[in-house]
């Protein structure tokens, strides 16, 4: 789909979403907070000034997209790009889309070539502002190209966990090696079988064909991938099956590993909606990240007082908490970072606070972008818009998948503390409990009753260590306990 077109019509944000991914990660934290009436515009201008070589990231084109394939680069290295031009065609799990640049510049280097696959957020090309920088960008590209191994992501756990349903896999493999030793046997697979194999990451060479003339049929691939070949339509359903529906961020998919027990008579089976399937997939994926938790008590009397004051102006508690978290993150960038490949820190240039919202039996995380830079009122207004969009199912991809840190608040239900699951691709998530009057002693031993709220942060221990998290929480508590800075 030609995206210049899209930008003119109703779903204009889809392309804007892509361009978000273009924003540079080269420098961060340099932005001055502006009380601009048009935050978007000011952000663009500022970032144009600061970054000379920009990374072009693999954009997230849909909520379920975890990696994308470069169908083709429309531009070649050395081409001069102007804002809005299509640069590369990316194939997601749903569609091919032209991705356009949001900046003028020169395409200095292509990091991920035609036909190759890269995870969402990974750099796929470099954009230089002037010709002098091309060499520098190229050097950078070759470095990152050698160190980062983007093409084969480890899809093993997903495929393996799905196998109990498919006893066909094992015999199939052994049979493959046994009977036909006559040199390089040609693999014949039908077009749809090949597509399915790619989709489910099944090595077509390991599948034994049962179709006419020994060809590999779509059913063979489905059997090898461990999916019941119920639907011939080939919808993009995800394979791993978790028995327990994931209600809110807190629920853990414990039942996933156990062999499916026989259904209790009278039970009904309701298939996941797309959103629920995406939640399920994310939750299972989260198991591959080593997480730990740190809790912290925060006194909220002053915050509550502030809230009462600004509430008439339309400020919500969500906005206050998001703002406080964002300001704390600005001082602790590592908590805002993420670990994409198990080998490096990816520091995010903007602080985008995703807030978990239970909606229509599902769960979605609208994102307050640049929460550290927007003022409380704009943030509250933005939040209102996002919630309305989420209800109307009109959130654009970048509005729910660009978060760098997640906030989950169950305080309004009276929950005093809980434990959140870290969403894949982020470094930390904060679970906020209810603020309750509590007897506290100060350092001089005086008792008093204060409102206390417990926050519990789950983080990826590959990049965020205990001390980092503790320091971040300390900062967060300070901000909440002296909330004047929130209104600045």
């Amino acid at each position: 789909m030609a995206s210049p077109l899209l930008s003119r019509v109703s779903i204009s944000n889809a392309t804007a979403g892509n361009t978000i991914s273009f924003s540079s990660s080269v420098s961060n934290g340099l932005l001055w907070r502006r009380s601009a009436a048009f935050p978007d515009k000011s952000r663009r201008k500022v970032s144009t000034v600061q970054a000379k070589i920009r990374e072009i990231f693999m954009p997230a084109l849909s909520s379920t997209m975890t990696e994308g394939k470069i169908v083709s680069w429309i531009k070649s290295e050395g081409d001069v790009l102007s804002k809005g031009e299509s640069v590369v065609v990316v194939e997601s799990d749903k569609a091919d889309m032209d991705v356009e640049t949001f900046y003028d510049g020169i395409l200095a280097a292509i990091v991920v070539g035609d036909g190759e696959v890269a995870p969402v957020g990974a750099p796929i090309g470099l954009l230089a502002e002037t010709e002098e920088e091309i060499a520098e960008a190229k050097a950078k590209a070759s470095k990152s190209g050698s160190s980062a191994p983007p093409p084969p992501p480890p899809p093993a756990p997903a495929a393996a966990s799905a196998s109990p349903a498919a006893p066909a896999v094992a015999p199939a493999k052994s049979a493959a090696s046994a009977p036909v030793p006559d040199g390089p046997k040609k693999i014949v697979a039908t077009p749809f079988a090949k597509k399915l194999a790619k989709q489910h990451k099944v090595d077509i060479g390991s599948v034994v064909g049962t179709g006419p003339f020994g060809r590999i049929t779509p059913a063979d691939v489905e059997a090898a991938a461990g999916i019941s070949p119920s639907k011939s339509t080939g919808v993009n359903e995800v394979s791993p099956v978790a028995a327990a529906p994931a209600p809110v961020a807190a629920a853990a998919p414990k039942a996933a590993a156990s062999p499916a027990p026989p259904p209790i008579p009278g039970s009904t089976v309701v298939p996941f909606t797309t959103m629920q399937a995406a939640v399920s997939k994310n939750m299972v994926e989260s198991l591959s990240v080593p997480t730990f938790r740190v809790g912290y008590p925060v006194l909220t009397d002053k915050l509550d007082a502030l809230y009462e004051k600004v509430k008439p102006k339309g400020v919500t508690m969500t906005a206050l908490l998001a703002k406080a978290a964002a300001m704390a993150l600005a001082q602790h960038p590592v908590v805002n970072a993420s670990c994409k490949d198990g080998k490096s820190f990816t520091y995010n240039s903007s602080i985008n606070i995703a807030v978990a919202v239970a909606i229509n039996g599902g769960l979605i995380t609208p994102v307050l972008q640049d929460a550290d830079k927007l003022d409380l009122y704009l943030l509250s207004q933005k939040w209102k818009e996002l919630v309305e969009k989420a209800r109307a199912k009109q959130l654009q991809a970048h509005e729910y998948n660009s978060g760098t840190f997640t906030l989950s608040n169950l305080g309004m239900f009276g929950v005093d503390r809980f434990d959140a699951i870290l969403p894949p691709g982020q470094g930390a998530i904060m679970a906020v409990g209810a603020s309750k009057p509590t007897v506290v002693t100060d350092k001089d031993g005086f008792f008093s009753v204060k409102s206390k709220m417990l926050v519990n942060v789950t983080a990826d221990h590959r990049i965020i260590y205990g001390a980092d998290l503790a320091a971040f929480l300390q900062t967060f508590a300070k901000i909440v306990e002296n909330p004047e800075s929130l209104t600045l």
């Binding site: 077109l5 194939e91 003339f213 919808v235």
Partner: protein
């Protein structure tokens, strides 16, 4: 009388057109034709259905009233005009000639209707109508979006095949009736030109009958082109001729050639459950389409379907299924000719284009040699002999001349030739002839592609602009849940001339005519953009397209003053 009023209004509206000038004269010359002229006016190209039933009686009367009067000119010849080949091109020419009152004969060696009606456009539309519905019913997501629940859709192959066959016979009889109704003689057998103004017709091998004609039109059409190395057995290795009979639906079919024929069949076969592998000699699928449209079409019509493809390869050898072996296709690199791959499939459809059919035509008798199989002609479709001289009184239209291998182009050329013969100096503007590919959604085009336009602009030194609109913004398309689509306008910003329009989207084939008519009539964007379109309709896609074009001059053509009615 309603037909009379129709006649009057249409003649008034287009008085500037040469055709209606002619009709006015005809009207005045023969009082007997007054009541029936409107019908004649209607009997142009594809309105066969109109001429059936109750009206056909009247037709005979007309023919009787007109023919003797105007046919008297052909004292020295048996016929004013003899057309060899009763396809859509020959039919169009015959009707137009009969309308002029000429004594006309049409020679057909096979069945009336030619490729289009019997083995081409017509039956394929029947199959595509089925595939469109199947596709819709199978698309759970699409149905759900409407709130519809449909149980698993299935089909009866013979029922589908019968629909295609019935449609072909119906249109064939319509065509035959319209010819007979106008008094055109249908002569059965193979037509051979014996010499200037002399044609023989009859069964092959028989002595045949010789007739003379003042003018001769060759309209023998084409047959599917089968490259060498390909063995067509009519069962597992087939051409469009057999595919349209839909004798079986293979699990896996290779389609050699990804032009509009291959594309349409891929639409049919995948809807009926087959998997498809395209084999394309060029580096890109869908050569010939505007690249941007082709790219989009590929993303909608190919990538999400059960289709894969090989590009830049020739099928050097295709062996039909036999002795318990599948169809085997050897692929070689199109450039290096090195062996690339071998496909084992259940069937192969050869859709590598069409070759002109001129066998037995007796071209040698008038010293004409075909060029790559095509009959050479000038811009008036008059045949050129080996010395490069025009052959008097012999014309060639349609696929046989290869100018534009489309049924309606043939028909337009036929009408143009008749006009030319009657001294009206007519040249067909091929750039105004639309083309369509009836996939789901459809693709249509008229005029130049963007690269062609840019090349022309480079040569002639003008500027080219492109405007695009999406079906996603169109209310009617969204109501149908068919927002996927793009319309593209290529034009000259300096004077507003339309160079080309390309549409991919719901009912694109029906939408293109606003653009093709504008090109044919020379309407400029700055004028057409003020035309009003009913809301909400798909036509608004074009409305928006014209409006989004940025033409540098605002003045519309002089002399068009607004009239309050």
């Amino acid at each position: 009388m309603s037909s009379l009023s129709l006649w009057i209004s249409s003649s008034v509206a287009v008085t500037a057109r040469s055709e209606s000038d002619h009709r006015l004269r005809l009207l005045s010359s023969s009082s007997a034709t007054i009541a029936t002229s409107p019908a004649l006016h209607f009997c142009c190209l594809r309105t066969e259905a109109l001429k059936l039933g109750a009206k056909s009686n009247r037709w005979k009367v007309v023919a009787a009233a007109v023919a003797p009067q105007n046919g008297s000119a052909s004292d020295e010849f048996d016929y004013n005009l003899v057309i060899i080949g009763a396809g859509v091109g020959g039919h169009g020419a015959a009707l137009h000639a009969a309308e002029k009152g000429w004594k006309t004969a049409i020679i057909e060696g096979d069945v009336v209707g030619g490729t289009c009606v019997n083995r081409g456009c017509v039956p394929s539309k029947a199959l595509l109508a089925v595939s469109g519905r199947m596709r819709e019913l199978q698309d759970e997501h699409h149905m759900k979006a409407f709130g519809l629940q449909v149980a698993a859709a299935g089909y009866d192959r013979q029922g589908v095949a019968d629909h295609a066959n019935n449609l072909a016979s119906k249109i064939r009889s319509n065509l035959t009736n319209s010819l007979k109704g106008l008094g055109v003689d249908i002569l059965e057998g193979v037509g051979t030109i014996l010499g200037p103004q002399k044609v023989k017709y009859g069964k092959v091998g028989s002595s045949g009958n010789v007739i003379t004609a003042k003018d001769i039109i060759i309209a023998t059409g084409s047959v599917p082109f089968v490259p060498k190395g390909v063995e067509v057995d009519g069962k597992t290795v087939i051409t469009s001729d057999q595919a349209l009979k839909l004798e079986f639906v293979p699990d896996w079919i290779a389609i050699v050639g990804s032009g509009y024929i291959g594309l349409e069949f891929s639409d049919v076969y995948t809807a009926l459950g087959s998997e498809v592998t395209f084999v394309e000699a060029l580096d890109q699928l869908m050569p010939g389409f505007d690249p941007e449209i082709g790219k989009l079409a590929q993303r909608v019509l190919i990538n999400p379907r059960k289709i894969d493809y090989y590009t830049g390869v020739f099928a050097s050898k295709i062996t039909p299924a036999k002795d318990g072996k599948p169809v085997i296709i050897d692929l070689i690199d199109a450039k290096t000719k090195e062996p690339k791959d071998t496909l084992e499939v259940d069937a192969a459809l050869i859709a590598t284009g069409r070759a002109p059919f001129t066998k037995g035509l007796g071209l040698e008798n008038i010293r004409v040699e075909t060029q790559r199989g095509f009959v050479p002609v000038d811009e008036h479709m008059q045949v050129i002999d080996v010395d490069g001289k025009l052959v008097p009184h012999v014309y060639c239209i349609g696929d046989a001349n290869g100018k534009m291998m489309l049924a309606h182009a043939a028909s337009a050329q036929g009408i143009s030739v008749v006009e030319q013969i009657s001294g009206k100096g007519n040249v067909v503007n091929h750039l105004s002839i639309p083309a369509a590919c009836f996939t789901h959604p459809e693709i249509s085009m008229v005029g130049l592609t963007e690269p062609q336009a840019r090349e022309k602009a480079e040569k002639e030194g003008f500027e080219v602009s492109v405007a695009k609109t999406s079906f996603k913004a169109n209310t009617k398309a969204l109501a149908e849940n068919e927002g996927e689509g793009l319309a593209k306008l290529i034009y000259r910003p300096d004077n507003g001339e339309i160079l080309g329009v390309h549409i991919f989207g719901l009912h694109a084939a029906d939408l293109i005519h606003e653009a093709s008519n504008a090109i044919a009539l020379g309407t400029r964007i700055q004028d057409i953009k003020f035309a009003v379109h009913a809301h909400p309709t798909l036509s608004e896609v074009l409305d928006e397209l014209f409006k989004s074009a940025k033409v540098k001059i605002n003045t519309s053509s002089p002399g068009v003053a607004p009239v309050t009615v």
